[in-house]
Symmetry: C2
Subunit: 250 residues, 2 copies
DNA sequence: TCGACTGCTATTGTATACATAACGTATTCA
DNA sequence: TGAATACGTTATGTATACAATAGCAGTCGA
C-alpha cells in the first residue's frame, strides 16, 4: 500500500467529508450506488474512523442514505424532490424575512444587503451578461440570501435554512445556475433582483407579510424555471441537480 | 473496570445515542456542559467509536454543539429559540398541509386522520380530563401530526419536519405537555382540536391556503401558551423545554 | 507580585486490529 | 435441472492502542 500522506492543516474527518461530497456532486459516485468504506478510505486518504464520521455527517446532510443491512448509498432524488426542496427553502426564507421585518432591523444592518443589491444591479446592466459577471452574480446572490437569513436573528431558523441549502440544487447558487440554462436567463435574473428589492423594502417598512410573500414567490419562480431548465437540457454541466436525479425508471 | 455487558439486540451506536439523549433531556447533563467521551463511554457501556458516532448524530440533531477546540457540549436554548422552533415547525407543517390539499388526498388516505380526530373528540368529552386520558391525548396528537405530515407525500419536507421535531419542546408531544401546565389547559386542547378539524376539512376541499393558514395558527397558539406556561411554572416536570433552557445570565 | 514560559496531564483525533454478519458461490441432493 | 444449504469471502460494526494537541499548573525571572 502507498504511504499515507497526512495533511495536518485540516482534520481528516473534514477532508474526507469534502472529498466524498465532491465525488457525489461531481457524479463520480452515481445515485443509488453503494459507498464502500474501503474504497472511500483509498480515495480520500483518511483512515476508516474519520471516513465513517464523514459518512454519518453526509447522511445527516441528506446526500447519503443508510442501508438497513449496513453501510450507505448515494441518495437519489426525483424531480419533484428537487422542486419541493426549493419551495421548502423559499418557505423558510420567507419566515426569515418575516422575522426580520417584524423584529425590526437597523439601517446599519441593512447596509450590506443594499450594497449587495447595488452590485447585482451593476452586473445586470450588461446585456448580454458575460460569463465572468454571471459567476459574480452567483456569488453575490448567495451572499444576499445568506445575509437575509441572518437578519432573522433566529439561530434555529438559520440552522434549518442552512440544512435545507445543503442539497446543491436547493442552494441559491444551485438554482441560479440551473436557470442560466434557459434562453430567457437574463430576464429571470432581473425579476429575481426585483424580488430582492421588494423584500428589503418590506423589511425596512416592517411589513412582515409582504416580506414573506415575496420570498415565497421568489422560490416558486425558481421552481418553475428549474422545471423548464430540466426540459430543455441545454447546459447540462450547469445543472448541479443532475448528478443526483434518479436515473431509475421507478 | 466492570465487565462490558454487550447487548446485541440493538447496535452500540443506537444504544449510545439513546442513552446520551436521555441524559440530556432528563437534565443529567446540564446545558452548556461539556460532554466527556470517556465519561460517556462509562455511562453508556459502548466503546469510544460508537459513542463518537452517537455524538455526531446528536450534534446534527441539534442537541449538542461542537466545541471548536474539540469535543461537544450540551446546547443551551433561549426562550426565543424555543418559540422560534415551534413557529418553524408550524410553518413546515403548514406547507405539508398545503401540499396535501393541492396535490389531492383520497378518502382512504384521510381515514386514519379522521379516526384520530374522533378518538381525541372522545377524550375531550371528559371534563376535567383524567391524567390517563391526557397521556392518550399526547400520543394521539403526535400521531395526528405525523399522519398529516405524511399526507404531503414530499420526502424532503417530511425529513425536514422530523428534524424540526427532534428538539423535545418543538415536538407535538412536547408543546402539548407544556400547555398542560396552564389552568385553561382543557380549553386550549379544545381549540387545538378545532384546528385539526379545520385542516382536514381544508384538505378535503383542496383549499391549500386555508390548510396552511390553520396549521400556522395552530403553532402560534402553541407559542403563546408555551410563553404563558413558562411564566407560571406550575408543572415543571411536564415541561420538556426546561432541561435545555439557558440558565446563564447571558 | 505579576507575568511568561515550560512541562505535564488529560482528552480528543486517528489508525488499525478484531469480531460479526451478510452475501455470493459452489456443491449436493431431490 | 433446480433448489437449498453450507462454506468462504468481504464488508461493516466495535474495540482499543497510539498520536497529538490543548489546557493547566508550577516555577522562574523581572
Amino acid at each position: 500500500m502507498a504511504e499515507r500522506e497526512v495533511d495536518r492543516s485540516v482534520s481528516q474527518t473534514v477532508k474526507a467529508q469534502l472529498a466524498l461530497r465532491d465525488q457525489i456532486l461531481s457524479g463520480v459516485l452515481r445515485p443509488g450506488e453503494r459507498i464502500s468504506e474501503l474504497q472511500a478510505v483509498e480515495t480520500t486518504g483518511a483512515s476508516r474512523t474519520p471516513v465513517r464520521m464523514a459518512l454519518v455527517r453526509l447522511e445527516e446532510e441528506g446526500l447519503l442514505e443508510a442501508i438497513p443491512s449496513g453501510g450507505f448509498m448515494v441518495k437519489a432524488f426525483s424531480e419533484r424532490d428537487i422542486s419541493d426542496s426549493i419551495e421548502l427553502r423559499g418557505t423558510l426564507e420567507g419566515l426569515a424575512a418575516r422575522f426580520a421585518a417584524e423584529r425590526g432591523v437597523s439601517a446599519r444592518e441593512l447596509e450590506p444587503l443594499k450594497e449587495c443589491l447595488a452590485a447585482i444591479d451593476e452586473l445586470l446592466r450588461q446585456v448580454p451578461i458575460s460569463v465572468d459577471s454571471f459567476s459574480s452574480y452567483v456569488t453575490l446572490n448567495a451572499r444576499f440570501h445568506a445575509l437575509l437569513t441572518e437578519l432573522s436573528r433566529s439561530p434555529p431558523l438559520i440552522r434549518q435554512i442552512d440544512r435545507a441549502s445543503a442539497l446543491p440544487f436547493a442552494s441559491p447558487s444551485g438554482f441560479v445556475m440551473a436557470q442560466s440554462a434557459l434562453p430567457e436567463a437574463q430576464q429571470i435574473l432581473i425579476i429575481g433582483q426585483e424580488h430582492h428589492r421588494v423584500v428589503i423594502d418590506a423589511i425596512e417598512n416592517r411589513e412582515g407579510a409582504r416580506a414573506e410573500a415575496v420570498m415565497r414567490e421568489h422560490a416558486r419562480l425558481a421552481v418553475r424555471n428549474l422545471r423548464l431548465a430540466l426540459r430543455n437540457r441545454t447546459h447540462l454541466d450547469l445543472l448541479p441537480a443532475l448528478a443526483l436525479i434518479k436515473t431509475a425508471t421507478d
